[in-house]
């Protein structure tokens, strides 16, 4: 009797192992030994203009007259123009200057300071010192949730898989411009809560990682917007990442009445 029961349990276990559900999960996960080595400390190449390929005007994102040209719908072009006009009178504070919200995606691929890209079979992490910020891309075979099961967050939800040495992931569930606290850079670029981003990330050489994004957003864009960001690996071995307490020594608070970013002098009072 006992042998018969054991035999049945073994048979059940084997049939479960090869059920469609479990097979799909296991087939999608790339073993650790087959994953690329993205270890080390990385930094984004170029300044914090999100899409340098469409930049007009010279300088960085905070410089007057600089803008990018995403294929915005008239409604979002109008919003962007409003942000640019405020930036040009120094009244467009960066949402993260208040030290309270994550930068979200895709801006997490547009930050200064150090990066770590953590590759595991079941998950991929983007860890940024600036912020700090974390993004998770699940590579364990799961599917993206249904739209009604997302509610708009800064980083959204991301599911990916490996195609050889390239990580491909899709991101949905972004809050976009809904609460006016998620931007792509300091020129005031935004997306809507309808954005869907497909990212392909790979090493283009030993010291360079490249992330190619195709941004689709039926509310904000008239056609897909292609943006590429690159990251260079530090050649110095043994460098550390540190914590980054934005509020630790905050001498640049935003004046909520005017939107002006203040500079605090030696006595703690604004000097600008």
């Amino acid at each position: 009797m006992r042998i018969k029961t054991l035999t049945m349990l073994c048979g059940l276990s084997i049939s479960l192992m090869f059920s469609p559900l479990s097979f799909a999960q296991e087939a999608a996960v790339t073993p650790f030994a087959q994953l690329p080595d993205w270890s080390g400390l990385w930094s984004m190449m170029g300044g914090t203009i999100f899409d340098r390929s469409t930049q007009t005007g010279s300088g960085g994102a905070i410089d007057h007259g600089v803008r990018e040209h995403p294929p915005y719908t008239p409604e979002y072009e109008k919003i962007y123009m409003k942000h640019l006009a405020l930036r040009d009178i120094d009244r467009y504070p960066d949402v993260i200057t208040n030290c309270g919200v994550p930068v979200g995606f895709p801006r997490i691929l547009n930050l200064p300071d150090a990066y770590e890209f953590v590759v595991r079979p079941d998950i991929f992490y983007i860890v940024t010192e600036n912020g700090p910020n974390t993004m998770r891309v699940y590579t364990d075979g799961r599917k993206l949730p249904a739209k009604e099961d997302t509610w708009g967050t800064y980083t959204g939800v991301s599911v990916g898989h490996w195609e050889g040495d390239t990580l491909v992931w899709e991101t949905i569930g972004l809050k976009g411009s809904r609460d006016n606290d998620s931007i792509l850079d300091r020129t005031g670029l935004i997306l809507s809560d309808q954005a869907r981003i497909t990212t392909r990330m790979r090493k283009v050489n030993e010291n360079t990682l490249e992330a190619r994004m195709v941004i689709e957003d039926p509310k904000a864009l008239t056609k897909p917007w292609n943006v590429t960001k690159q990251f260079r690996k530090s050649k110095k071995p043994g460098l550390f990442m540190y914590d980054y307490g934005c509020a630790e020594n905050q001498r640049n608070p935003v004046d909520s009445a005017t939107g002006k970013t203040l500079i605090l002098g030696a006595d703690g009072k604004p000097v600008n």
């Binding site: 300044g47 914090t48 300088g59 960085g60 905070i62 410089d63 120094d90 467009y92 504070p93 960066d94 993260i96 200057t97 030290c99 200064p112 300071d113 150090a114 010192e129 600036n130 300091r186 530090s234 110095k236 460098l239 550390f240 990442m241 540190y242 914590d243 980054y244 307490g245 934005c246 630790e248 020594n249 905050q250 001498r251 640049n252 002006k260 970013t261 500079i263 605090l264 002098g265 030696a266 000097v271 600008n272």
Partner: protein, 129 residues
């Protein structure tokens, strides 16, 4: 001898300093800082080696002999730390000459460019501007 050398390099050193300023201003808008470079000589009061930006507090005698405390903003200690800067790089009482981008409105605040110690050692982009 004047211990403050507010040498405005108007003709020779009004530099296009936005590139130099960018790392300093990673956290906030650059509004307010001039693009000109001046030199200040004084005594370090405090080095605030803390995020999001480091600040060097320096007591600088002005031409009338009155001491003015300047606040000089620099980069994130994380980034500076990886480049070899330490909290001990500026210690209280240290005599120092600094190159800074001052506030355009004349306030004693500026963006750090470089510094030269009394022993001739330099830090930052002293030779660049």
């Amino acid at each position: 001898m004047k211990s403050i050398h507010r040498v405005v390099f108007a003709a020779v050193a009004i530099t296009f300093a936005s590139i130099a300023i960018q790392p300093v201003l990673a956290h906030h808008s650059g509004a307010g800082f001039s693009r000109e470079t001046i030199q200040l000589s004084g005594t370090v009061k405090e080095f605030q080696f803390r995020n999001p930006h480091s600040w060097i507090q320096v007591n600088v005698p002005d031409p009338s002999g009155k001491t003015v405390e300047w606040s000089i903003e620099w980069g994130s200690p994380n980034q500076l730390g990886r480049e070899g800067i330490r909290p001990s790089s500026f210690t209280p009482g240290m005599s120092i000459t600094m190159k800074v981008h001052p506030m355009a409105n004349g306030s004693p605040v500026g963006g750090f460019v470089g510094a030269k110690m009394s022993d001739g050692k330099t830090i930052g982009k002293w030779d660049a501007e």
